[in-house]
């Protein structure tokens, strides 16, 4: 077990968004957080790395309670990729090395440069490494921000709709990279997604959110037509096509 979320309650002013969320994620797990628009998927991710502070509940990483850590210490353990990306006049290398920020005391070291270099290679970003990020395509930019989160060397990766702006190939590439790194480094990734087919292909754990709380959680067995219809209010069939599970709206 690497991350545990226990009894998290979050409200904006008097509006209850998340109610008694409880789940655990193990090493090497890729957890897909599913649910309709506005159900609180992004809010849940932000509560986990304390961009938002839940009013109740305990969140721990490797037995360390997050509410007792400062922002910098949290950033050393959790990498976060937000839904909206902003590009400025930074090169790709600058943007990735920025991921070392939580580990930098006065200035970057050779080691930081080596880590950024290795991650850029891993994500096939070398051809762009000195390009300005405001000149990249959506898919390239998405890879850059994932590279930045990986440069943090986090124990847990939080990705808010990492595939929403990408074409088919980039969607598959990005998710393959994430699952590979999670597996190799024995960390955990929490990913919010809208595409159920991508989710069941790449994730090994699932959470279905409905009405501010967890409706169902577990392995691939929770992706049933019954559960999906109850969460999304759309009747579906879950079939296997060339041994790949697919969700088809009816």
């Amino acid at each position: 077990m690497i991350l545990s979320v226990d009894g998290v309650v979050f409200r904006y002013a008097s509006h209850l968004v998340l109610n008694k969320i409880k789940f655990e994620v193990g090493r090497g797990d890729c957890l897909a957080i599913l649910g309709t628009n506005g159900v609180g998927k992004s809010t849940l991710l932000k509560c986990i790395n304390r961009i938002l502070k839940p009013q109740q509940g305990v969140i721990s990483i490797e037995k360390g309670e997050l509410s007792k850590l400062n922002r910098r210490e949290i950033a050393q353990k959790i990498g976060y990729v937000s839904q909206r990306q902003e590009g400025d006049r930074f090169t790709v290398f600058d943007a990735v090395i920025l991921g070392r920020k939580p580990h930098i005391t006065w200035n970057i070291t050779d080691r930081d440069i080596q880590i950024a270099n290795r991650i850029i290679k891993m994500l096939d970003l070398e051809p762009f490494s000195l390009r300005y990020i405001d000149e990249l395509s959506g898919g390239e930019l998405q890879k850059v921000v994932i590279a930045r989160a990986l440069a943090q060397e986090p124990r847990v990766l939080l990705l808010d709709e990492p595939t929403s702006n990408l074409d088919l190939k980039n969607q598959l590439d990005v998710l393959k990279i994430i699952t590979k790194i999670v597996e190799e480094q024995q960390i955990a990734a929490l990913v919010t997604m809208h595409d159920l087919n991508l989710a069941i292909r790449f994730a090994n754990k699932f959470i279905l959110l409905k009405e501010r709380t967890i409706f169902a959680a577990g392995g691939a067995e929770v992706i049933t037509p019954d559960n999906i219809e109850k969460v999304y209010a759309v009747p579906v069939a879950v079939e296997s096509f060339q041994s790949i599970p697919v969700v088809v709206p009816l």
Partner: protein, 359 residues
């Protein structure tokens, strides 16, 4: 800074070359400021040669040159350097922490607050009087009171904006709008004061707002310089935080930056140095906008290089503008604030057409 395809195995080396080029740009700018400084000391009604200037600065010149240089030319040059540095680095940081390319002592109402403060001191506190003997028709007989009043009212603008930001929770966009509102409030108040004031006092107010680097004594310049130096050190300590914030507020938080504290500290310090510069020297527009934006075009948005780069660029621009103001129709010295706005605005429009084009 040109983009090109590079050999993968060379990547860290190429990156270091790329950052090295930025260092070289900054070193060249420092050299240009030095050269421009010598030129500015030479230029004027008593013509001097660079050789004479250097000898005098080394303490080996004639007594006449010493008086001209140490008492007239050099204070002005140093004032241009410290004020240019302060206004530019303040603009650079404000633009980052407010996530708005327009952030500046003008858009935040700091300059208008200072102008109101000066008008208040001249008219209501009765500091300005008519002078009959000298070439200037207007005399401010207690410049320190005007400076203090200008400073107090520019800090009023700052305090209101900081209060809105930290206690009411207004967003960065809201802070800019609040600054614009405060600016027009102060302008309206200044207009009312002028409406009821005598002609001579109106002239004194107008003269004050021109912005004049000759106004500062060595002691004033020393005070501005010390504050600017401390501010630049503080900003450099946070250069990675500003880089993180440039990538978005949530990303910055995810990278461990306390965004709220960063914003509060940055706003307080950048407003303070703008307020001090404006209070001592009068209103000098556009340096806080043009210099940081020029540096963004030259060396990119990395604050490790942008903060020192914008600082030096501010020195260079204000020094160049002041030298132009002193020499273009000599012996008349134009107000430097008018020159910076006159040259700054077209330059800024040009930068906009290059940098903010729709892609």
């Amino acid at each position: 800074m040109k983009q090109k395809t590079i050999q993968p195995e060379d990547m860290p080396g190429n990156y270091l070359k790329y950052t090295g080029r930025k260092t070289i740009v900054i070193i060249i700018l420092v050299a240009l400021v030095g050269g421009m400084g010598i030129f500015a000391i030479c230029a004027g009604s008593a013509e001097l040669t660079p050789g004479q200037v250097v000898m005098t600065l080394l303490g080996k010149g004639s007594e006449n040159f010493e008086i001209v240089i140490w008492n007239i030319r050099l204070p002005r040059v140093i004032a241009a350097i410290v004020a240019g540095a302060g206004l530019s680095v303040a603009g650079c940081v404000m633009q980052n922490i407010l996530r708005n390319p327009l952030a500046d002592s003008f858009t935040l109402g700091i300059s208008q607050g200072a102008a109101f403060g000066a008008a208040f001191a001249i008219v209501i506190l009765g500091v300005g009087t008519v002078q009959t003997s000298s070439t200037d028709a207007v005399l401010i007989n207690n410049p320190y009171l005007v400076t203090i009043s200008a400073f107090v009212f520019s800090m009023v603008a700052t305090t209101v904006i900081l209060f809105l930001s930290s206690f009411v929770g207004v967003t960065p966009e809201g802070m800019i709008l609040a600054g614009v509102a405060l600016g027009s409030l102060f302008t309206a108040a200044t207009t009312l004061i002028q409406y009821f004031a005598e002609d001579v006092k109106i002239a004194a107010i107008v003269f004050w707002t021109f912005g004049d680097l000759g106004r500062a004594s060595w002691r004033d310049t020393g005070l501005i310089g010390a504050l600017v130096l401390l501010a630049v050190i503080y900003f450099m300590l946070h250069r990675w935080d500003y880089n993180a914030l440039a990538s978005g507020e949530e990303t910055a938080k995810g990278l461990g930056v306390d965004v709220h504290r960063l914003r509060l500290g940055g706003m307080a310090i950048s407003s303070l140095i703008s307020a001090v510069a404006v209070a001592f020297l009068g209103i000098i527009g556009f340096i806080g906008l043009v210099a940081p934006h020029m540096m963004r075009r030259f060396i990119g948005g990395d604050h490790r290089f942008l903060i020192p780069g914008a600082t030096i660029m501010g020195c260079l621009l204000l020094l160049a503008a002041d030298t132009l103001a002193r020499t273009i129709i000599k012996p008349i010295i134009l107000p430097v604030g008018a020159v910076t706005s006159f040259l700054g605005a077209p330059l800024f429009l040009y930068l906009l057409s290059r940098g903010f084009k729709r892609k």
